[in-house]
Symmetry: C2
Subunit: 349 residues, 2 copies
DNA sequence: GGCTGGCACTCGGTAGAATCGAGTGCTAAC
DNA sequence: GTTAGCACTCGATTCTACCGAGTGCCAGCC
């Protein structure tokens, strides 16, 4: 976490510039307005005059940290400015009230994993006033605990598979022949024998031997097999999408952001990409999606026993309240890990 | 003013007024602007002069069908005006292209019910440019086909229940004692014996006899029981929520509508309320939600074999394109019914 | 040499006045 | 009952003046 490089860091500013930049960013985050030299100068930890601030600002602008909407206006941070700000943010702590709120939530929350994640997403969004994303773990490393074929009617069977992480999938089969109870039960038995204990990703196609039971088994395995790569599509929970309406101005921006959020797979890939790149905050263009260039995304991985088990994220405007939002995301991700991880360790206590 | 005092027909207008009203509504839907007398007069099926139109408009305004944003502006339809318009709409037919699009979609769509419904929702939204809602059937009348208790570990069991309509539910149990494979299997057997063939709504609590198997069975039944009333929460699919951003002007309205859409249970109750009241279109205040007073909602029930099996809906501004939207919702609901109903009848053909 | 107070300058935002024109209501004539 | 004509209304648009927040620059000061 302490990343404070010793090496000759390219983008390091002397202390005064840094605090001026910080003041500009802070104030702009609060007011959404361009920030002038005088209000910076009157800020608490700036001891120089506005004229000095001005000349430093010129330099900060030249270096790409600040921008001027037009001459004779104050300065606005660029993405690079936000980046510096975030990188040098001493990680904040959650306020007492919010701390309390999170603890209370996790003390009382009940229900299936999906319900918990969905409610967590709402909680996070409500705490921060930003749109939140909660990703459940992908189950590619879960093994199959049970695989049952249920006869709905002669032409419809349902393959219900339970995985060791508690997730359940279903697949309908519609064989071109009639299936009676016994055939189905036999296929179910064979499937169980075949699949229990294996990983989803190592399920292999089974050749059909020609009779109905074998055909059912083959179809069932094929269905499972086909699902494997897309398995995590169902564990995305987006909370507070209405927040985008007041986080951004300009209807067009709102539309674009909403439209991205609708494509859940896109959101998943964005978050996973960030995790992969070790980013906890993506500002503006950093997230790689053109329509999200005025957004900032915060992610916090959820880690249980050292293994990645999902993530929580927040999406807001680039001028979002990073400290609070990061603190909230961090706290929630930790509680989430404890909530599910703690459960697992039940046996150990 | 001698005002045509024949019969006090509450809600019927003479032919001329009707066509003027229709012209105003149509044009306002197209242009989103107040409509003036002259453009109405020049409309194809109005043969009188603008002066006459004006005097009729005064009368329509007095009767509550039209309103004036301010003196010296054109007229805008009131909710009552839209209502009249919709009630007297000769039901439109879908354009060829869209017809084609729907047929193609349903010819190619694959996967579980939920996937189909979700994609249907996207289709509908894409066709109409409005936000769409697709409700899956509630399964209160489905009976239990299978109920299996899977041992995840000593302290976690998962109750997986399959219903005759193909839906699957899961409930985790965390008993305060350790459960071994045999206990779990025995409980599973008992549950099957107890539950198969019964309706969810008629599942009754079971008293515990004290041993672990019985306790598991009791907990499992209790979990199922607790779920019963809220069971349909999972079958709501909202497509194209980004459309609200361009359907409404005013960020605040957008926010409110999005915020309603986030509460899926609310949306469900809205749609179900409309179905119950036999409404296919709710205009403005008719939908009963204050924040949706500038919205219109269209619903079309999905009926399979005479039984209600869900619904599709569209949400747009009160000045939405009713004819097209109703045609689309109708067509999609019918295709949906055929898609699932046709499947069911497989055996009969 | 770096900081500062002072100052001329810039330019977006706002307020007020003038204008435009779409649309109305009314009335007299057909 | 319908219509042409006309005076009138009032939001929208344009223009102008002006204010003031904020800048860049410079001369003087520590």
């Amino acid at each position: 976490m302490a990343r404070r490089a010793t090496a000759p860091v390219v983008n390091d500013l002397d202390a005064r510039k840094a605090s001026i930049l910080e003041a500009v960013v802070s104030e702009h985050i609060d007011t959404a307005q361009p920030v002038g030299s005088s209000s910076v100068a009157s800020s608490s930890d700036i001891v120089v005059s506005s004229a000095t601030v001005r000349s430093e600002m010129v330099s900060l602008e030249r270096e790409g940290y600040l921008a001027q909407p037009h001459t004779s206006a104050g300065r606005v941070p660029t993405d690079k400015g936000y980046r510096y700000f975030v990188d040098h943010l001493k990680s904040g702590v959650l306020g007492d009230v919010q701390q309390q709120q999170v603890s209370e939530f996790f003390a009382n929350v009940r229900g299936e994993v999906e319900d918990v994640l969905e409610q967590t997403s709402m909680l996070l969004s409500q705490m921060t006033h930003y749109t939140s994303v909660v990703l459940g773990a992908t189950l590619s490393h879960a093994s199959i605990l049970s695989s049952q074929l249920v006869n709905i009617d002669a032409h419809h069977q349902l393959l219900v598979t339970v995985f060791s992480d508690g997730s359940v999938t279903k697949h309908s089969l519609t064989p071109p022949f009639e299936v009676d109870y016994e055939t189905c039960a036999e296929a179910s038995r064979q499937l169980n024998a075949l699949l229990i204990g294996t990983l989803l990703e190592s399920v292999v196609q089974v050749p059909s031997r020609g009779d109905h039971v074998a055909a059912l088994v083959r179809d069932a395995v094929a269905a499972l097999h086909a699902q494997a790569p897309t398995v995590d599509g169902d564990k995305v929970f987006i909370g507070g999408s209405s927040r985008v309406a007041d986080a951004f101005d300009g209807v067009e921006t709102v539309r674009q952001v909403l439209s991205i959020l609708e494509q859940e797979l896109l959101v998943v890939s964005l978050v996973e990409d960030m995790l992969k790149r070790g980013l906890s905050v993506a500002i503006g263009a950093e997230n790689g999606f053109e329509p999200l260039s005025t957004c900032a995304v915060i992610v916090a991985p959820v880690t249980i026993d050292g293994a990645p088990a999902g993530a929580v994220g927040l999406l807001g405007p680039t001028r979002m309240k990073y400290r609070e939002a990061m603190a909230a995301a961090g706290a929630v991700s930790q509680h989430l890990a404890r909530h599910f991880g703690g459960d697992e360790e039940h046996a150990e206590h």
